[in-house]
C-alpha cells in the first residue's frame, strides 16, 4: 500500500460518483420506502448518453450531464408508470429486471459499442468538479427533504394507507421520488464515464446495484448524513485494500449479513449530523430532555 495524492484523489472521485447514486437511492429507499435493485441501470443510461453527447456532439460537460440526467428521468418515468403500483417485494424485483435488461440491451447496441465497450470518452471529471457537484446535490436533497414534498414522501414510507387518507397522492410522490433518484444516479454515471474515459455494460451489473443499496443501508435509512458516511466508508475502505482485492468482497458480504443481524437501522438510521451536534450541546450544557408535564403525572401515578 502506498499513499500519494493522485491515488487518494482517484478514490475520492469514486466516492463522489457513488455518493451521487447513493443520495438518489437514499431519497427512494430511505425517505420514500421503495427498494430498488436497478439503479445501476440509471447510472448506465446517464453514463452512455452523456458519453455520446460529449464524443459525438461535442457538448460541454454541463450540458452532457443534463442530457444524461434527462434521459434517465424519462426512462424512470416510463418504467415507474408501470411498476410503482406494485407492492413491496414485487417493485424491487421489477427494478432488478429493469437494471439487468438495461445492461443486456446496451450489450447489443452497436451504436454504444456493444459488449466490447465505448472507449475514448473525454476525461472531464476532475476532483473539483466532483466536489462541486456533490455539494450541490447534498444541499438540494436536504432542501427537498425538508419541504412539504419531502415530508409527504416520508409519510408514505411510514404508513401508506394513512398518507392516502390525508390526501397525499401516493403514486405521484413515488413517481417524483423515483424520477429524481434516477436523475441523481444518472449524474453519478456521467461523472463515472468522464472519469474512466471508457464504458462497458458489464460495469453496471446487478452486483453494482446491490452494492449501492447496501451503502444506503449501511449508512442508515432516512439520513442524508448516513448516506454520505455509507458511500465514503464503503468506497474508501475497500479501495484502500485493493491489494487484498480477492478477499474484499467476501468480507463485504459477511459485513452486510452482520449489519442486518445486529444493527439493521444502519450507522445513523433516521439521525442527521445536526442531531448529533444537538446531542453534544445537551451533554455540555447538562440539559436533559424534559418529559412533558402531561406525561409525568401519568408516570408518577403508577
Amino acid at each position: 500500500m502506498y499513499f500519494d495524492w493522485y491515488y487518494i484523489e482517484g478514490i475520492l472521485i469514486l466516492v463522489g460518483v457513488n455518493l451521487m447514486v447513493v443520495l438518489g437511492l437514499s431519497l427512494l429507499t430511505g425517505f420514500t420506502g421503495l427498494f430498488s435493485f436497478g439503479h445501476a441501470g440509471f447510472m448506465l443510461i446517464g453514463a452512455y448518453v452523456s458519453a455520446i453527447c460529449s464524443m459525438n456532439f461535442n457538448m460541454p460537460f454541463v450540458l452532457a450531464m443534463i442530457m444524461g440526467a434527462l434521459a434517465a428521468m424519462a426512462v424512470a418515468a416510463f418504467i415507474g408508470t408501470f411498476t410503482l403500483n406494485l407492492k413491496g417485494d414485487y417493485f424491487c424485483i421489477a427494478t432488478l429486471g429493469f437494471g439487468e435488461s438495461m445492461r443486456l440491451i446496451f450489450d447489443n447496441l452497436d451504436y454504444f459499442g456493444g459488449s466490447r465497450g465505448l472507449p475514448g470518452i473525454p476525461m472531464k471529471t476532475t476532483f473539483p468538479v466532483v466536489i462541486i457537484v456533490c455539494v450541490i446535490a447534498i444541499v438540494l436533497m436536504t432542501c427537498l427533504i425538508k419541504s412539504r414534498h419531502g415530508r409527504n414522501m416520508i409519510a408514505i414510507r411510514e404508513e401508506e394507507l394513512a398518507s392516502q387518507a390525508i390526501g397525499i397522492n401516493v403514486f405521484k410522490y413515488k413517481m417524483i421520488s423515483f424520477v429524481i433518484s434516477a436523475a441523481f444516479a444518472a449524474i453519478g454515471g456521467v461523472l463515472y464515464a468522464h472519469y474512466l474515459g471508457y464504458l462497458q455494460p458489464l460495469m453496471f451489473q446487478l452486483t453494482k446495484s446491490t452494492e449501492l443499496t447496501i451503502m444506503v443501508i449501511f449508512g442508515g435509512l432516512g439520513s442524508i448524513g448516513g448516506s454520505v458516511v455509507g458511500a465514503f466508508v464503503l468506497t474508501f475502505i475497500p479501495e484502500l485494500f485493493r491489494a487484498f482485492s480477492t478477499w474484499r468482497l467476501v468480507i463485504y458480504g459477511a459485513v452486510v449479513v452482520l449489519i442486518m443481524a445486529t444493527r439493521p437501522q444502519g450507522l445513523m438510521g433516521g439521525y442527521e449530523f445536526t442531531d448529533f451536534f444537538r446531542w453534544i450541546k445537551r451533554k455540555i450544557t447538562g440539559k436533559k430532555y424534559e418529559t412533558p408535564a402531561l406525561l409525568k403525572e401519568e408516570g408518577e401515578q403508577s
Binding site: 438540494l140 432542501c143 427537498l144 425538508k146 419541504s147 412539504r148 414534498h149 419531502g150 415530508r151 409527504n152 416520508i154 409519510a155 411510514e158 404508513e159 394507507l161 394513512a162 398518507s163 392516502q164 387518507a165 390525508i166 390526501g167 397525499i168 397522492n169 401516493v170 417524483i176 432516512g222 433516521g270 412533558p292 408535564a293 402531561l294 406525561l295 401519568e298
Partner: protein, 287 residues
C-alpha cells in the same frame, strides 16, 4: 338541512362473503352520526368504502350531492381484471380526502417515527401551494410564508387537542389515548367537512372517554363539520350521537335517535342474544 353523506343501497362482497349488505343512510349537516354493531358487523368496511380503500359491489355513495363511489362493473376473471385496471376510474382515497372526508383508523396508523408535531405538520400539506421546484429554493418569500403558516396551523390544532406539550415526542411512544387524539388532529389538518372516527375511545378510561365526548362536540362546533363515529363504548355513543345506525352481520338492524335504538328489541337481541340463539351459535358470535 343539507345531506352531507348519502349511502344508497351499498353492498360489498369479498368473494362469497357479504361484508356489507344493502346499507342506506344519510348524514345531515352538523350531525354526529353513530355507526354501531357487534364485532365483524362491517362497520370498518363501510369506512373503507366511503374513503375509497375498497370499491363498491353494489349501490352508490354521494357527498354533498356529488357521486363519490359507484359500483365496480367488472368481475373476477382475468380479462375483467385487465379492464378494471385500465378503464375503471374510481376516486382514490387521496382524492376523497381532498374533497373533504378524512378519517382515523381503528388500529392506529400514525407516522410512527415522526414526532407528534411532524405528524400534523405533514398532514397540513394541502394548505401550502408551492411546487416541487420551489422546494429546492427555500429562501423564496412564498416558501417561507407558507411554511410559517403551516407551523401556526399545526400549533393551533395540537393546542386544541391538548397535545402541544408532547409535540416533540415520537408518536409511537405516546400513550394510547394521545395517539388516538393525534390521529384526530391529523385528520382535522385537511379542513374536512366530514370526519370519520373509527373507535376513537378504544383503550381510554371512563374519564378520558367523557373528555373525548366534549372534545368531539367542540370540534364539530368549532370547525362546523359533520362527524361519523364508530364506537363500542355505549356511554360515548348514547351521550354523543344525534342519530345512530345499527349493523348486524353487515345488514341493517335499526336506525334512529339513541334512546329509540336503545329500546329496540332487535338491537337488544343482537347485543345480548336470545337464549336459543346463544345455544345455536355456541357463544362464537364475535367471530
Amino acid at each position: 338541512m343539507t345531506d352531507v353523506l348519502k349511502l344508497d343501497h351499498v353492498t360489498k362482497r369479498f368473494g362469497g362473503l357479504t361484508a356489507v349488505g344493502d346499507v342506506s343512510f344519510t348524514i345531515k349537516e352538523g350531525e354526529i352520526f353513530g355507526l354501531i354493531g357487534p364485532n365483524g358487523a362491517g362497520k370498518t368496511t363501510i369506512f373503507n368504502l366511503i374513503t375509497g380503500v375498497y370499491t363498491l359491489t353494489e349501490g352508490e355513495i354521494s357527498f354533498y350531492g356529488d357521486t363519490l363511489a359507484v359500483k365496480d362493473p367488472y368481475g373476477d376473471s382475468f380479462m375483467d381484471g385487465l379492464k378494471r385496471r385500465f378503464f375503471f376510474k374510481a376516486l382514490k382515497p387521496n382524492q376523497i380526502a381532498e374533497r373533504g372526508i378524512t378519517r382515523t383508523f381503528q388500529n392506529i396508523r400514525l407516522f410512527k417515527k415522526m414526532t407528534a408535531f411532524q405528524n400534523v405538520y405533514t398532514a397540513c400539506h394541502r394548505s401550502a401551494t408551492y411546487g416541487i421546484f420551489a422546494s429546492f429554493l427555500p429562501f423564496l418569500p412564498k416558501y417561507r410564508r407558507e411554511e410559517r403558516m403551516l407551523k401556526e396551523k399545526t400549533e393551533t390544532l395540537l393546542k386544541l387537542m391538548g397535545l402541544w406539550e408532547v409535540r416533540d415526542m415520537v408518536s409511537a411512544n405516546l400513550p394510547y389515548g394521545m395517539q388516538r387524539k393525534l390521529e384526530i388532529a391529523r385528520a382535522l389538518a385537511l379542513d374536512p367537512k366530514l370526519l370519520l372516527l373509527d373507535e376513537p375511545a378504544a383503550g381510554m378510561n371512563p374519564e378520558e372517554t367523557i373528555a373525548l365526548m366534549d372534545l368531539i362536540r367542540e370540534i364539530r362546533d368549532k370547525f362546523q363539520i359533520s362527524v361519523l363515529v364508530i364506537e363500542h363504548h355505549m356511554d360515548l355513543i348514547m351521550g354523543l350521537c344525534d342519530r345512530l345506525y345499527v349493523l348486524n352481520f353487515g345488514k341493517f338492524l335499526a336506525e334512529g335517535r339513541p334512546e329509540e335504538v336503545q329500546n329496540d328489541p332487535a338491537v337488544v337481541e343482537a347485543y345480548l342474544g336470545s337464549p336459543e340463539e346463544m345455544k345455536e351459535l355456541g357463544g362464537v358470535k364475535d367471530a
